[in-house]
């Protein structure tokens, strides 16, 4: 590692820190994009098997080259701008969708030391950046000058704003018990506890004492992602394809990439905040990045499983779930956690 740093210092001189940061960004974004490509493959395969089909199986062995072929096809297709569309906003909207999905990765830790920017308020940063993602969807719906797209955008805006409230409250519970906004410290906080002392680390992670918040976060996360069963913004059978109905080629692909990159992001956040991040579930196995990836994979398969299992929520039921079920649960549990922390029974000292 030192040899690489010395070599870089010699070749680039003063700008080496900037170049080194760029290299680290590439090292995060490139595997992420590959992960996105193969997540689409996994989704088609998993849902295929759940529905007693085979899924993609023609391009390469087990259809493994299918995502590459899809990507190539989308790259070569023409981007059609509808004649009534607002051209500038129409082009900017997909960029606004993907930029936050990538920017959020700047503060994600992969283990205790491997993180691009270990800032103090990383949880706040994540909340702020992910809340910007909705603009891509709203603006694409507005700029398309199409009724279906506009309806999709309106639905999406209302949905994301409502579920962000519940999501924010569940994160507040996490930061109360961890006493920190830093993701690395949140994970390190989960390594301590009575069960961790017995070598049963997975019972000390946040998911158990904060079980209602874990469920609220997971479900609100699915809703924030516009994933089934909360995909009213796309709702194929109701509003064709919702906000991206007018998009084609790479502009469409950017929305797609953003959605799947966000899926991986929410899976990572769930793993870090509630499932102990890179901590090993049992005492006799070492901690490591592989555990984080295993947990992410588990949450991602949950998302796919949801999609193959549940029918789409009706719009009013969706709003009811967000405001009348999750919000009261969050408010009650916030008080419960606060009282618990101040009582002699507190497990977070």
């Amino acid at each position: 590692m030192d040899a690489v740093m010395n070599l870089g210092q010699g070749v680039f001189g003063g700008v080496w820190p900037a170049v080194w940061t760029l290299i680290k960004i590439v090292l995060i974004v490139a595997p992420l994009m590959l992960g996105v490509a193969y997540l689409t493959w996994l989704e088609r395969k998993v849902i295929g098997y759940m529905q007693v089909r085979i899924g993609p199986n023609r391009v390469g062995p087990w259809g493994l080259i299918q995502p590459i072929a899809d990507g190539l096809k989308l790259l070569l297709k023409e981007i059609v701008v509808p004649s009534g569309a607002n051209k500038a906003v129409f082009i900017i909207a997909p960029m606004l969708a993907i930029a936050p999905a990538l920017a959020a990765w700047a503060v994600i830790p992969f283990n205790g030391t491997l993180v691009l920017a270990n800032i103090d308020a990383s949880l706040l940063y994540i909340m702020a950046i992910t809340s910007i993602g909705v603009y891509g969807i709203i603006l694409s719906g507005w700029a398309s000058n199409s009724k279906y797209a506009f309806l999709g955008a309106m639905r999406s805006a209302a949905q994301m704003v409502s579920y962000e409230v519940a999501m924010g409250f569940s994160l507040i519970c996490v930061l109360m018990v961890s006493n920190s906004l830093n993701l690395v410290e949140i994970v390190n906080g989960q390594a301590e506890g009575r069960f961790a002392g017995y070598g049963l680390g997975f019972l000390s992670w946040n998911w158990l004492p904060l079980l209602p918040m874990f469920l609220v976060y997971l479900i609100s996360g699915t809703a924030e992602l516009n994933r089934a069963p909360f995909d009213v913004a796309e709702g194929e059978s109701e509003i064709v394809a919702g906000f991206h109905v007018e998009y084609s080629g790479m502009a469409f692909a950017l929305f797609f990439l953003a959605e799947y990159a966000n899926m991986i992001l929410v899976a990572t956040l769930t793993s870090i905040l509630f499932l102990g991040g890179w901590l090993s579930p049992v005492g006799f196995l070492p901690d490591g990045m592989l555990w984080l990836f295993a947990k992410m994979f588990f949450v991602l398969v949950l998302f796919l499983w949801f999609r193959a299992t549940f029918p789409r929520y009706r719009y009013d039921q969706l709003m009811r779930l967000g405001w009348k079920v999750f919000l009261p649960i969050c408010l009650v549990w916030l008080v419960v956690v606060g009282v618990w922390m101040m009582s002699p029974l507190s497990i977070w000292k």
Partner: protein, 198 residues
């Protein structure tokens, strides 16, 4: 000129441009988009001043929530710009007086000694979390103003609901609460009938 100064002037230029476009653009959606850009750049300048909590909070609250709802409303407006500009020259003197008054007031406030950046000691040592400091101040020294502000917000919210609530509708609205708790046995009756033989 060091790097920080350069970033400050760069962000300030964007901020001033965006703020000007908010009031000059003909399309209301463009105005809102430039307002979002202005908030975002403002957050950048605050981050430069080491106020990272405020910087993230303005993006989280204003860009992430308030402006989404704003955009939501503005998109559905059908504004005729020409009609809006009809009385421009009539209103100009009043508007100009108000504008000058605001500039003078802001100048007076910003000229106060509390707003001067202390030459030394302004740079925080590493490891001081400004989020924690703000929280401690808010819930100890400033707890009454803070609670008062929350009550004002609550009153505003209740007032908005009271103003727009028009009583229960007499339409065929469905109640999802009732629907969710419907059981099959409330609706379906299974009858046993003997098989007919001839």
């Amino acid at each position: 000129m060091d790097f920080q100064t350069f970033v400050f002037f760069f962000l300030s230029a964007i901020l001033i441009f965006a703020a000007l476009r908010v009031i000059t653009s003909r399309n209301p959606v463009y105005a809102v988009l430039h307002l979002i850009l202005a908030f975002f750049t403002c957050g950048g300048i605050w981050a430069l001043l080491q106020a990272e909590f405020l910087a993230i909070a303005i993006i989280l609250v204003y860009v992430g929530a308030v402006m989404v709802l704003f955009l939501f409303v503005v998109m559905m407006l059908d504004i005729n710009v020409d009609r809006l500009r009809e009385g421009f020259w009539n209103y100009l003197p009043l508007g100009a007086i108000l504008g000058i008054l605001m500039v003078v007031e802001m100048g007076l406030v910003l000229g106060q000694k509390y707003f001067q950046v202390p030459a030394a000691g302004a740079v925080l040592p590493a490891g001081v979390s400004n989020t924690r400091e703000i929280a401690v101040e808010m819930f100890t020294n400033f707890v009454y103003p803070f609670e008062l502000a929350s009550i004002v917000l609550l009153v505003g919210m209740v007032a908005a609901i009271v103003l727009t609530y028009r009583g229960p509708k007499a339409s065929k609205n469905t109640n999802p609460n009732k629907q969710v708790f419907v059981k099959a046995k409330d609706r379906v009756r299974v009858l046993q009938m003997p098989v007919e033989k001839d």
